[in-house]
C-alpha cells in the first residue's frame, strides 16, 4: 500500500490511543481488549512541564506512574542538599510502584527533564477496582507482580555478584 494512505488509515488511529500505549507496557501484556479498556478507566493521564517535580523523597506516596512520552529523572538529596542521580527513565518505563500497594514514604524524588506525559495508577482507584471488579484487577496485579518479581530477581542476582566481588576484594586485601 501507498505509505501516504497507510499513514492515514492505519497509523493515526489505534496506535495513538491510551489503550494501545497500555498494551505495549510489559506488565499489561496479558490483558485483553476489554480489560485494557477497564484499565484505561482507572488510570489518570497527567501532563507535566519540563523540570517539574512529580514527587519528593519522603512524600506519602499514593501510586505508580508510567511514562507515555518525555523523560523523568530519579534522584536523592543528601544532608548537604547534593543531588545524586539514580536513574533517567524514558517512555515505557514506570516508577513509584512501591506506593501502589501500601502507603509508604517515597524513597527518592522524581522530576521531569522535558515536557512529559505520565500515566498514573493510584492505590485508591486500584483498591476500589479490586473490590468491585476482582477479575480484571487480579490480572493487572498479577502482571505488575511479574514485572516486580523480575526486578527483584535481578536485584538479588546483582547482590550475590557484588557480595562475591566484595569477598574477593577482601581476600586480595588480606593477602596483600
Amino acid at each position: 500500500m501507498n505509505p501516504f494512505w497507510d499513514n492515514i488509515f492505519r497509523r493515526s488511529g489505534y496506535e495513538q490511543t491510551l489503550t494501545y500505549f497500555l498494551s505495549t507496557m510489559p506488565m499489561f501484556k496479558m490483558l485483553n481488549k476489554r480489560e485494557l479498556t477497564f484499565l484505561e478507566n482507572i488510570v489518570h493521564v497527567r501532563n507535566y512541564e519540563a523540570d517539574e517535580i512529580v514527587f519528593n523523597e519522603g512524600d506519602i506516596g499514593s501510586g505508580m506512574y508510567s511514562i507515555r512520552s518525555g523523560q523523568v529523572q530519579i534522584y536523592n538529596l543528601d544532608d548537604q542538599g547534593q543531588e545524586t542521580e539514580q536513574a533517567i527513565l524514558n517512555p515505557g518505563d514506570f516508577f513509584g510502584e512501591i506506593a501502589l500497594t501500601a502507603s509508604r514514604p517515597r524513597c527518592a524524588s522524581a522530576r521531569t527533564t522535558e515536557p512529559t506525559v505520565l500515566v498514573g495508577l493510584f492505590r485508591s482507584d486500584m483498591m476500589e477496582a479490586v473490590r468491585r471488579h476482582p477479575a480484571p484487577s487480579a490480572k493487572i496485579m498479577l502482571g505488575l507482580n511479574r514485572v516486580i518479581s523480575d526486578r527483584l530477581l535481578q536485584c538479588s542476582l546483582e547482590l550475590t555478584k557484588l557480595k562475591t566481588q566484595l569477598n574477593d576484594n577482601r581476600e586480595q586485601l588480606t593477602d596483600a
Partner: protein, 376 residues
C-alpha cells in the same frame, strides 16, 4: 512645565483617564457580578433539595446497582433493573394497602390537632402551678397562650402548604429519579474530571482525600438512613400494639427525627407522648409507649445494635463538635441544616486529618530542609 516631581499636563490627563476607567469598570464588573449572582440564585433556587435528595438516594442505591452489574449487564442496564424493582415494589405496596386516604387523614388531623394541643397546654399549666408552688419567684408567664397561638399558626401553615408541598413533591418525584440516574451512571466520570483539574503537585493528595471522604460519607449516609428506617419500623410495631391513633405518622416522625443526633430522638418522642396522654391517659399503655420510644427504640435497638454495626466504622466526631454542627446547621438551614450539619462537619474533619498526613506535600520550602526538619 516639566519638573522632576510634578507631572506634565498630559500625564495627569492620562492618569485621570486611567483612574476613571478603572473605577467605572470596577463598578460595572461589580454590578454585573451581583446581577449574575442574583440570576444564579434565582435559577438554582429550587434545585438544592432535589439535588441533595438524589445524591443521598444514589448513595443508597449504589450497592444495589453494583450487585446487578456484571460481565453481561452494563451499568446503565443495571440502573434500569434497580429502578424497575423499586417501582414494582412501591406499586405492589400500594396495591396491597390501597392508596392512602389523604382527605380523611387531613380531616381527622384537623379535628384532633387542637384537642391534642389543648391537652398538652393543660398538662403544662398543671406543671407550671406545681413549679410556682415550689419556686414562687417564677413570674406568671402565659405559656398556654403562646403555645396555643403558635400551634394555631402551625396548623394553618400545614393546611395552607399542603397543596403547594404536594406540587413540590410532584416535581421531586419527577426530578429525583432523573438526577439519581445520572449520578449513579456518571458520578465516577464527573468526579474524575473534577479531580483531574488539580495541579500536579497536589494531585495525589486530593485523590487520597477524595477516596477517604467518599468512603466515609457513603458509609455514614447509608448507616444513618438505615438506622432511621429501622428505628421508625420498631416504633411503628411498638405503637401498633397499643390503641394509639396515627401510629404510622408517629413512626415516620420518630424515624426522621432520629437523623439528628442527641436532640432529634427527644423531639421525635413528644408528639407520640402528647397523643398518648390525650387519648389514652396516664395508664399502662402510656408507660408502654414511653418504653417503646426510650428503652426499646433508642437504647436497645439504636445504641446497642445499630450504632455499633452501622456507624462506628466512620470516624467519630467529638460530641461537642456534633452539637455545634447541629446548632450552626439549624441556624443556617433549619431542620434540613440540622440533619446535614453533622455529615458536613465530619467531611471537614476527614479533610483536616488527611491534609495533616500530607502536610509535607503542602510545605513549599521542603526542598531546603532535611526529612528531620534541619535546614540544608
Amino acid at each position: 512645565m516639566l519638573s522632576q516631581n510634578n507631572m506634565s499636563r498630559a500625564q495627569v490627563a492620562v492618569l485621570y483617564l486611567i483612574l476613571t476607567t478603572a473605577i467605572a469598570s470596577g463598578i460595572a464588573i461589580y454590578s454585573s457580578a451581583s446581577t449574575i449572582t442574583a440570576l444564579l440564585k434565582t435559577a438554582t433556587a429550587g434545585l438544592f433539595l432535589p439535588l441533595l435528595i438524589s445524591l443521598i438516594v444514589s448513595f443508597l442505591l449504589d450497592p444495589l446497582v453494583y450487585f446487578f452489574e456484571g460481565n453481561k449487564i452494563n451499568r446503565t442496564l443495571s440502573i434500569f433493573i434497580v429502578y424497575l424493582l423499586i417501582f414494582s415494589f412501591v406499586g405492589l405496596l400500594l396495591f396491597i394497602i390501597g392508596p392512602p386516604n389523604w382527605k380523611g387523614m387531613a380531616q381527622a388531623l384537623k379535628a384532633d390537632f387542637p384537642r391534642y394541643i389543648e391537652q398538652a397546654i393543660e398538662f403544662l399549666n398543671r406543671l407550671l402551678v406545681v413549679a410556682q408552688e415550689h419556686f414562687p419567684f417564677i413570674v406568671h408567664y402565659d405559656i398556654a397562650e403562646r403555645i396555643s397561638s403558635a400551634s394555631q399558626s402551625f396548623l394553618g401553615m400545614i393546611l395552607k402548604e399542603t397543596p403547594r408541598s404536594a406540587m413540590r413533591i410532584g416535581s421531586l418525584l419527577l426530578l429525583v429519579p432523573l438526577f439519581t440516574f445520572f449520578f449513579l451512571r456518571d458520578s465516577r466520570r464527573i468526579v474524575r474530571s473534577l479531580i483531574s483539574l488539580t495541579p500536579n503537585r497536589y494531585f495525589e493528595m486530593v485523590l487520597d482525600i477524595y477516596a477517604t471522604v467518599s468512603w466515609q460519607l457513603s458509609h455514614f449516609i447509608r448507616g444513618r438512613v438505615l438506622e432511621a428506617l429501622i428505628v421508625g419500623l420498631v416504633v411503628w410495631v411498638g405503637l401498633s400494639l397499643t390503641d394509639i391513633r396515627y401510629a404510622p405518622i408517629l413512626a415516620v416522625v420518630a424515624g426522621a427525627s432520629n437523623l439528628i443526633p442527641y436532640i432529634g430522638p427527644i423531639v421525635g418522642m413528644i408528639p407520640g407522648l402528647v397523643i398518648a396522654l390525650a387519648d389514652l391517659g396516664m395508664g399502662g399503655e402510656f408507660w408502654w409507649i414511653l418504653c417503646v420510644y426510650l428503652l426499646i427504640a433508642q437504647i436497645l435497638v439504636d445504641n446497642f445494635i445499630l450504632i455499633p454495626i452501622l456507624i462506628s466504622k466512620v470516624s467519630n466526631l467529638h460530641p461537642l463538635w456534633v452539637i455545634l454542627a447541629i446548632v450552626m446547621g439549624g441556624k443556617l438551614y433549619g431542620i434540613l441544616g440540622m440533619i446535614i450539619g453533622v455529615p458536613i462537619a465530619s467531611i471537614i474533619n476527614i479533610v483536616i486529618i488527611a491534609t495533616r498526613q500530607h502536610r509535607k506535600t503542602f510545605n513549599p520550602y521542603q526542598r531546603y530542609f532535611t526529612t528531620r526538619g534541619k535546614l540544608l
